[in-house]
């Protein structure tokens, strides 16, 4: 839209097209512009077939505030000229818009092509490989204490390959170091793709790996040592202190058993009551269809006086409800009669039962 059809161009084109002299064309156009203003003044609206409607729109006076002084001022009303194109012209322009957007997209593509990102990436990758080689050599010279360090030196060049041997190399390492190392792996390729701050990232990766490896190495060396010591210590006593050990373990087992029994004893009390609570309702108060904007909690409040009993409602209707938060409208909800114990929130059992039912309901 940078180009403009100037007045003279229009005049010439009009003269040629209409087969009139430029003078008459000029007379016509000047008359057009002056008469448009006049006509707008008179009628507030001018329709021009083949183009659209020019309208004079009144803007009402409005109050405003002087920004600097805070004074209230009245902006006077005025008229503004609006133009609404004819339906045909509008369509034409819109269809033209589609075409131009298509052109614009093509233009964008063309703009991207000359950049040739692949070539750039390739060049950068080569540079990075060189730098990595340099980086890789330096650690080799410096420590060269353990095989792992050599591996480290190699790692930056081919980050994925050397790490695979690492894992088998340290079979004693269970999961702790292996896990952190693995997450480091996927990071590297990502960074390669990004190519942003690649060097920095690689350096960070290398240092991280170093720390991890050293940490893992020392950790497991000590662990292994301890373990071996344990083994060495444990093996001889087994023969000698067998009797001592044997009674010990059963004692422990007994303890745990008693504990288990205790917990079981505690649980059974709950579970039976819970089981009792679940199936044994004293009867049904009513069956109410779920209506819109109703909640189990609200029904609970209506029937039992408090929202906290909603898990009973859910429990009583488990078979037809999937999610306590998403109950379909119209689902019949059975409202069970609850015993005094079931309604007693000061009762620990009742509370735990409610908790459990709630959990069940929410886990569904």
């Amino acid at each position: 839209m940078a180009q403009k059809l100037s007045w003279t161009e229009l005049r010439r084109a009009l003269a040629v097209r209409a087969g009139v002299s430029e003078k008459t064309a000029n007379a016509f156009l000047t008359a057009l512009s002056s008469q448009l203003t006049e006509a707008l003044k008179r009628d507030k609206q001018v329709k021009i077939n083949g183009l659209g409607i020019f309208k004079l729109q009144a803007v009402a006076p409005r109050k405003s505030v002087n920004v600097t002084t805070g004074e209230q001022i009245i902006i006077e009303g005025y008229n503004k000229v609006t133009f609404s194109p004819e339906a045909g012209v509008k369509e034409m322009v819109e269809s033209k818009g589609e075409r131009t957007t298509a052109k614009g997209e093509k233009g964008k593509e063309k703009r991207e092509e000359p950049v040739d990102p692949l070539q750039k990436l390739g060049a950068q990758a080569e540079e990075i490989v060189d730098i990595l080689e340099d980086l890789g050599q330096s650690p080799k010279k410096r420590p060269a204490k353990s095989k792992k360090k050599e591996k480290l030196a190699e790692q930056p060049k081919e980050p994925e390959i050397p790490e695979v041997p690492e894992v088998p190399e340290k079979p004693a390492e269970p999961e702790k170091p292996a896990e952190p190392v693995k997450p480091a792996e996927p990071e590297k390729p990502k960074k390669k793709k990004k190519e942003h701050h690649f060097l920095r990232d690689v350096l960070i990766c290398v240092t991280l790996l170093l720390i991890l490896l050293f940490g893992g190495y020392f950790f497991f060396r000590s662990q292994l040592g301890n373990w071996i010591e344990h083994l060495l210590q444990a093996q001889p006593p087994i023969e000698t202190v067998d009797p001592a050990v044997v009674p010990d373990t059963p004692a422990v087992i007994e303890e745990t058993e008693t504990e288990v029994k205790e917990t079981e004893a505690a649980e059974p009390e709950e579970t039976p009551t819970a089981e009792m609570a679940e199936p044994v309702y004293e009867g049904w108060i009513t069956t109410e269809p779920m209506h819109k904007a109703s909640r189990l909690a609200w029904m609970s409040k209506r029937y039992y006086g408090s929202k906290v009993y909603w898990p009973y409602l859910y429990d009583a209707n488990k078979d037809r409800l999937a999610n306590p938060n998403m109950i379909e409208v119209g689902t019949p909800i059975r409202v069970p009669k609850l015993s005094a114990v079931q309604l007693d929130t000061t009762n620990a059992q009742t509370r735990s039962t409610l908790e459990r039912l709630k959990k069940q309901a929410l886990e569904r």
């Binding site: 059809l5 002056s34 008469q35 021009i48 083949g50 503004k80 194109p85």
Partner: protein, 92 residues
């Protein structure tokens, strides 16, 4: 005001016959349309500029459902009146 009346006004002001004025108006409109389609803005001396403006696509929200949609961008034919014309018509 309808086109016919407007043509009458032009004919009076330019001492052309109504027929000629009508013909000239139709041709000038055709020229304007063609040039607009060619991506040109039309400078109308004493009146203003007719040009095609691009409306960018934007996110719109359905007021009732709160649904979010993207209203596609489009091209619009707009008229920018000249300062002169604006001033004259302000107090009309």
């Amino acid at each position: 005001m309808l086109t016919k009346e407007f043509i009458g006004l032009i004919a009076d002001a330019s001492s052309l016959s109504k027929k000629d004025a009508e013909h000239l108006l139709a041709t000038s409109n055709a020229i304007i349309r063609e040039n607009l389609m060619a991506g040109k803005a039309i400078q109308l001396q004493g009146m203003g500029v007719l040009e095609i403006k691009e409306r960018k696509e934007r996110v719109i929200v359905h007021p009732k459902t709160g649904e979010r949609m993207v209203s596609p961008g489009k091209k619009q034919l707009v008229f920018r009146p000249m300062a002169n014309m604006k001033e004259v018509l302000k107090k009309a």
